[in-house]
């Protein structure tokens, strides 16, 4: 622990604190809310901020399952492909709505996790996620008068150009959705009008009739309108759904969570209080029980808190309520390595070693225990992270990262502080380390040669 070590540790502290400072208020110091690098004409930009989970900022979370059992027989697109397509469709729909920072992830092959921060209307979220938006045009069935049948192959909305809403009627007040088939379906559309002119057709959305217009004339292009008795709102929604494409497979909601922003803010408040109180209690205990090393451990603990938080912001880790609990727990555990070292230090001092020798010996002998015990926790955390979902993952991630960071602070930072402290003559009094003063006469004998 000499030479560059202390400077490196100080540098890490400075960087950590810089990362921890809220960027949006200050734009400090580079006029950029995060890391902005420019090398030649390559840019690297990462915004640094605390990512709060839905349970802390409020919003809606859905877990959707692909109902692949309800696919028509003969369709054998592999599940991962369907999942991919479905996520893209949902992504387009959400983008059109302008939800900030949505999360759309696959959970295994057959599930999709959808998080919509700030969306309070769970029914709206359900609409976005599960409306299949499968548009089909049917024609009269001669065999069953009054019924409609699919064309072969079915004429669907899969091949539409972007749709838009216009207004019709005398007062220009009746909203309709304009569509236009792209080739080759535009020709089929024209052919259909030739064959069924003067007859009704049926337009279905997700299997339900939304309109059954009469074909009044033979069309000259792939264009058409849907008059579905819409309100302006519902016409716009339909247009949006059609433009985003149809889901390749029906989806069902297997889990839905809605958190009110006030409940989330409440949780953040509580967690901050719990964290602060926890930190304070531990700090108090350490100083009272271990005196000078305890005080050094408290500094190391503050270092730990700043560094761990910086790591969370950089990775970035999405903080959830359980995640914060994991972080707070890791504060308690972070002290563990210090306790192991300090207990050893006391023992070594009692056997008559000099302070410096005791510090080195204490570190050396406590290290295996620290190493294995941290490993046990990190191992548990990784298993939880790998197999867990949602809350459990958040807890495991912050606990695991927290313990890893605490290993660094205990093994490196506290040691540095201890070494710096024993170099200060005023701080070399044994009672500061919780050990009774030696008789003066013994001192020369106990000093190492």
């Amino acid at each position: 622990m000499s030479g560059l070590g202390p400077w490196l540790i100080a540098l890490i502290a400075v960087v950590a604190v810089w990362v921890d400072i809220p960027k949006h208020q200050f734009d400090f110091p580079f006029g950029c809310p995060g890391i902005c690098l420019r090398v030649g004409d390559r840019y690297y930009f990462q915004e640094i901020k605390t990512h709060l989970g839905l349970d802390l900022q409020g919003g809606t979370q859905l877990i959707l399952r692909l109902k692949n059992e309800s696919l028509p027989p003969g369709v054998d697109t592999p599940l991962p492909t369907l999942n991919d397509q479905a996520r893209k469709v949902i992504d387009r729909r959400i983008n059109a709505l302008g939800v900030a920072e949505p999360v759309i992830q696959s959970l295994g092959d057959d599930k999709i996790l959808l998080e919509l921060p700030g969306v309070a209307d769970i029914q709206q979220a359900q609409e976005i996620a599960t409306r299949q938006a499968f548009l089909e045009f049917k024609v009269p069935d001669e065999a069953n008068p009054g019924q409609f049948k699919s064309l072969d192959p079915p004429l669907t909305g899969a091949n539409l150009k972007p749709t838009f809403v216009t207004f019709q009627g005398q007062a220009q007040s009746i909203p309709v959705v304009n569509f236009e088939f792209a080739p080759p379906d535009d020709q089929r559309w024209v052919d259909l009008s030739k064959q069924y002119v003067g007859k009704p057709t049926q337009i279905l959305l997700d299997g339900k009739e939304i309109s059954s217009p009469n074909i009044r004339e033979v069309f000259s292009s792939g264009k058409g309108v849907i008059e579905g008795g819409f309100t302006t709102q519902s016409a716009k929604e339909l247009s949006l759904l059609l433009n985003s494409g149809a889901l390749p497979v029906p989806l069902e909601i297997v889990q839905s969570t809605r958190v009110e922003p006030t409940l989330g803010a409440d949780s953040v408040q509580r967690s901050l209080v719990a964290g602060a109180v926890g930190l304070l209690l531990v700090a108090l205990f350490m100083v009272v029980y271990y005196r000078l090393p305890g005080l050094l451990a408290v500094f190391a603990l503050l270092y730990y808190t700043a560094l761990a938080y910086a790591v969370f912001r950089l990775v970035p880790v999405t903080l959830t309520l359980a995640g914060i609990a994991g972080f707070i727990l890791s504060i308690g555990m972070a002290v563990d390595a210090n306790v192991l070292t300090f207990e050893r230090l006391k023992e070594e001092l009692r056997t008559g070693k000099s302070l410096r020798a005791a510090v080195d010996e204490g570190r050396r002998r406590a290290f295996p225990s620290i190493w294995y015990s941290n490993l046990a926790t990190i191992l548990t955390a990784s298993i939880l992270f790998y197999f867990g979902t949602g809350t459990v993952k958040g807890f495991a991630l912050t606990l695991g990262l927290g313990v890893a960071v605490s290993f660094f602070t205990a093994a490196v930072v506290t040691q540095l502080f201890l070494h710096l402290a024993v170099d200060v003559p005023r701080l070399r009094r044994r009672w500061l380390y919780g050990v009774e003063e030696r008789a003066e006469a013994m001192r020369p004998a106990a000093q190492p040669a």
């Binding site: 297997v254 509580r270 205990f285 609990a325 015990s373 191992l379 867990g388």
Partner: protein
Amino acid sequence: MASEPSALFRLVERKWLYFLLSGLFILPGAAFLLLGGLKPGIEFRGGTLLDARFEPVPEVADVREVLASLGHAEAVVQGAEGGRLLIRTTEMQPADIAAVERAFDERFPGALREAPSSSVVSPSFSAELVTNAVRSVVFASILIVLLIAFAFRTFGWAAFRYGLAAIVALLHDAFIVLGLFAILGYFFGVEVDSLFVTAVLTIIGFSVHDTIVVFDRIRENLRLNPGEALNPVINFSLTQTAARSVITSLTVLLTLLALYLFGGYSIRNFALALIVGIVAGTYSSIFNAAQVISLWQELEDRWRRRPRPQAAPA
């Protein structure tokens, strides 16, 4: 090594007392576990949890009546701090939740302060979550056993008994927590969720961590004092590490206590599980784990010294 004989506790000699004490804590919990006291939360059995803030807070009976009128007579309504009511029902669709919200507004005008937070899990998905939880527990256990084996590899053949003792200790801790929640579930309807599973796994990790520190010290003292009998070495090692075990647990307990008191009701049970588990873990690392090693050694010695009549004639 006998530099401070006065500080030695007779920890090994009293092992049966400590085993008995552990048994007294585990048995009632085990009984309630068998009685099915451990109640799965909505996450593990499917259903709906609504968290609604009212002001003024209506009578629970009235709230139940509203829910019953909407076809949810099975609803369990529970008050929480801050004017919140926690309502558990079977699975609801978003439209059903909106209907509940409207019904509340109608019945208790102006009392519902915000749209209820909700969490709905379909039974099909909850089955999967249970499988996941079981799988993670099994994998965690296997990996921890491997870790123990690795940590004690230098013990040679004795590593096996140290590993086994560590496993006894972690089962002890896990069962105390499971038992407590079985009792709480039986009498107070406390439910377990994936956070609880997380707590149990964390406790297992912590327990191993504590036990390893003790065993590490026993190993070191055995090396430093060749020829010394096992029991005095264990006593001495425990005396040396007890302070550390208690103090590290204490610091963790302090943070958990802060979580329990200030973290809010949604993680209170989680904090409680961890608190109890860590107290149990500290106890087992001081009073059970090394004692199992000692017991093993004593049984082995007795077996070796047993009279061997068939050996005499030959």
